[in-house]
């Protein structure tokens, strides 16, 4: 048993660290977040060139064919850099859903373009109920001679304005279905939902008789549910790893500040009240890291405990990132509350991430369904 990065994984991590610190420094993050979509085409092309946009997809579809631990490594570095834009939504939501449910033709048409960096996409799941459980989906898909027509409204869709197409969860009669919908389709309207985290934009998407061609119908019933569950699980682990990278970074910023800032003639990091806040940040960060990497590994291996592992990672990281943020700001005092200080950018990402794919309470309930409702027979 070996719970640490292999040499290859470490090399990947180092190169991701180098890449994102060179290509996406914090000044660039600030510039991008001021734009309407927090997206930069040149950066996206460079990421595609590095292979990041196809990291976990088969070579057949333009990917690198790496595993979910490698994915977690990359996401941790993206989280550290606070990478803005549609990576998570394109690659790990839409990409994984198409990878899980698509036919060969659909994968050629859509997944390959994602892998090659030629298309952006997202998943349209939440509706007005804001419930992450796919059972809550109500958007209507009714059959037409040419395929389907979608009617309803999706909420909190990440990066919809940069997306070339959406993977949309809808209901055909009682059955859950997944549909690929080009964002240029007739009757589809995207509008921004201004929110706390300006580095990852949210939108509502209204559907008024939006036509979906038969060949863009992805899955229905159990297979749609399985693909959606897979995409959410992978994206949740990816997000948990991204959150770890963010925690690590703001802990470092706060610790550096505590060493440099002097009051009463001493570095404030010498006072135990400050030191203990820093120790807590380390505990929260390292524990989140253990949970995120374990979940990535379990999901990769399709281990029976994977579902619980994913929920543990997200439940813990959701509370931890926010609490690391609270401490990182507290340690920096008034400076921590200023716009100029970078920690608030991460603090906002922490809150948005906490709310994405279910917060800590949502995931604790999922854990409870396994560990309380079913007797555990294996220790």
């Amino acid at each position: 048993m070996q719970f640490g990065l292999t040499e290859t994984q470490q090399v990947l991590k180092n190169s991701a660290r180098e890449f994102f610190s060179a290509e996406c420094p914090i000044a660039e993050v600030r510039r991008m977040m001021e734009t309407p979509t927090a997206y930069d085409a040149a950066l996206w092309q460079k990421m595609a060139h590095q292979g990041w946009t196809g990291v976990i997809f088969d070579e057949e579809y333009g990917g690198l064919g790496l595993g979910l631990v490698e994915m977690a490594v990359a996401l941790e570095e993206m989280g550290r850099a606070l990478l803005p834009g549609p990576y998570l939504s394109t690659v790990l939501l839409a990409g994984v859903a198409i990878d899980a449910a698509g036919t060969a033709a659909q994968k050629c048409k859509y997944l390959s373009r994602i892998s090659m960096g030629e298309a952006h996409a997202t998943l349209a799941l939440l509706e007005a109920s804001a419930c992450w459980d796919p059972d809550a989906v109500q958007l209507n898909a009714h059959p037409t001679p040419a395929g389907f027509a979608l009617n309803g409204r999706k909420m909190f869709v990440p990066d919809a304005a940069t997306a070339d197409f959406l993977v949309c969860a809808a209901r055909r009669g009682p059955d859950l279905g997944l549909f690929i919908v080009p964002t240029g389709a007739r009757g589809l309207a995207v509008s921004a939902l201004p929110a706390i985290d300006e580095t990852r934009k949210l939108y509502q998407v209204a559907f008024a008789d939006v036509p979906v061609a038969e060949e863009d119908f992805l899955a229905i019933g159990d297979s749609a549910r399985a693909a959606l569950d897979r995409a959410l699980a992978v994206a949740t682990v990816a997000l948990a790893a991204e959150m770890v990278g963010g925690m690590q970074r703001i802990m470092e910023i706060a610790v550096e500040y505590a060493k440099a800032r002097k009051q009463f003639g001493k570095p404030i990091g010498q006072f135990q009240a400050v030191q203990h806040l820093c120790a807590d940040m380390l505990l929260l960060t390292e524990s989140s890291r253990s949970a995120a990497y374990y979940a990535a590994w379990a999901l990769q291996e399709r281990a029976p405990e994977a579902e619980v592992a994913v929920s543990i990672a997200k439940a813990y990281a959701s509370d931890a990132y926010r609490e690391v943020g609270n401490r990182a700001i507290q340690v920096q005092g008034g400076m921590g509350f200023t716009w100029e200080n970078n920690v608030h950018l991460y603090y906002k990402r922490a809150k948005a991430s906490e709310l994405m794919f279910g917060d800590a309470s949502y995931h604790r309930e999922r854990i409870a369904r396994t560990v309380i409702d079913k007797a555990i027979d294996k220790l």
Partner: protein
């Protein structure tokens, strides 16, 4: 990263599990709840445990990670973790010579003279000689280096005078790893020496220290002109701080091991009780507040296991513990306090019933573990000291004291 066990680890676990299933006494938990007089049963229980350690030793499982030349198996840290896990899984009795096996033995191996190794190590393994640690004093707890128990050289003996406290197994011990001050004029860290002291020497007095659980796990030790041969110094005179630190590192690594299994066994039992206990007219297991709290405990117990696996992998690979190791003591001790509190909350008024109460769940175990957990954030380095260590040694913040 590969969290599957290697073939060797799997084989080791299988062999060990088969041996434990054939040999581990199954009546240990029943013996603990025996209602015979507390003092008498304590000694009887200890004799029973000594016998158990002898069996473990004879089967070759004692001192697993010690080098083969000193009677160990040269096992990896991972195999050692498997050993503690399997012991906890089957509910095997603890080894009474645990301090010798985990702390004193490794210290003698690292710093002791060859004659000391020959004299002491085999008897530590077999449980023939039980050891305790004389470290803390009434005025030297977190600030251990301020200790005052003094040893003055008189010919080829040291004369020891002073007092120690919080000594686990003190009443049952044959020997003590004692830290004493041998140079009162030197800086506080530089005048200390580690001595191996025969607890049966004239002038040694052991007094039980009754704790809030009613038990006497710990003792006070009094030394009144105790003569200790100068040959019993471990390492060099006035270099005792380094020797003692070595022991403390072992202590911190040790205490968390195996706990995740104990916690998971308790969790499983608690989930079972939650399905039976009524709360607001329905099973407590259906109460959303209880569900949230229990799920959080489960998540943290699991993360404690994962942190430990990471720490072990790191030490096996680099020989040094990483940051994930330094947080373990804080993590498990604070987790256990929250966990026991939630157990009490779930059990309601029944939770407070103690051993021997007719209506207590699990013979009052939960009232006991709730009280016992209170000590967790104090023993083996308080949470405050642990956070100082993390702040200074891991994060590089200036020392605060």
């Amino acid at each position: 990263m590969d969290l599957n066990p290697t073939p060797q680890e799997r084989q080791f676990r299988d062999e060990l599990r088969a041996w434990l299933e054939a040999h581990a006494p199954r009546d240990w938990e029943a013996r603990q709840s025996a209602t015979a007089s507390r003092e008498a049963s304590m000694e009887a229980r200890f004799a029973f445990l000594r016998d158990w350690q002898r069996q473990v030793y004879e089967a070759g499982w004692a001192g697993l990670s010690w080098p083969k030349e000193y009677g160990g198996r040269g096992a990896t840290l991972m195999e050692k973790a498997i050993f503690t896990e399997e012991m906890a899984r089957i509910g095997a009795p603890p080894l009474p010579g645990i301090l010798g096996l985990e702390l004193v033995g490794p210290t003698i191996i690292a710093f002791g003279a060859e004659e000391q190794k020959q004299r002491y190590l085999a008897k530590i393994l077999s449980g023939e000689e039980i050891w305790c640690q004389g470290f803390s004093e009434p005025n030297a707890g977190s600030d251990l280096a301020a200790l005052r128990t003094a040893a003055a050289l008189d010919g080829d003996h040291f004369i020891v005078n002073g007092q120690k406290v919080w000594t686990s197994y003190g009443w049952a011990s044959d020997w003590c790893e004692l830290v004493v001050r041998t140079d009162a004029a030197a800086e506080k860290h530089k005048g200390l020496t580690v001595l191996l002291v025969d607890m049966h020497s004239p002038g040694v007095e052991v007094r039980p220290l009754r704790q809030m659980t009613g038990e006497t796990e710990f003792n006070e030790l009094f030394f009144d002109n105790v003569r200790v041969p100068a040959a019993n110094v471990v390492g060099r005179v006035n270099d005792g701080w380094n020797v003692a630190l070595g022991t403390l590192m072992h202590e911190r690594a040790l205490l968390g091991a195996g706990l995740q299994i104990t916690f998971k066994r308790q969790f499983t039992r608690l989930a079972e009780l939650a399905r039976r206990i009524e709360r607001n007219g329905r099973p407590a297991a259906e109460d959303p507040v209880i569900r949230q709290k229990l799920a959080q405990c489960y998540a943290e117990i699991e993360i404690m296991r994962l942190n430990q696996m990471r720490a072990i992998s790191r030490v096996m690979e680099t020989g040094k513990p990483g940051p994930e190791g330094s947080i373990q003591k804080i993590f498990w001790s604070e987790l256990n306090q929250r966990f026991q509190q939630i157990a009490m909350e779930l059990l309601g008024p029944y939770g407070q019933l103690t051993r021997g109460s007719e209506f207590a769940f699990d013979d009052g175990q939960w009232a006991y573990t709730w009280l016992r957990a209170r000590g967790n954030t104090i023993e083996a380095g308080t949470s405050e000291i642990q956070r100082n260590i993390v702040g200074h040694f891991v994060l590089g913040l200036p020392k605060s004291y």
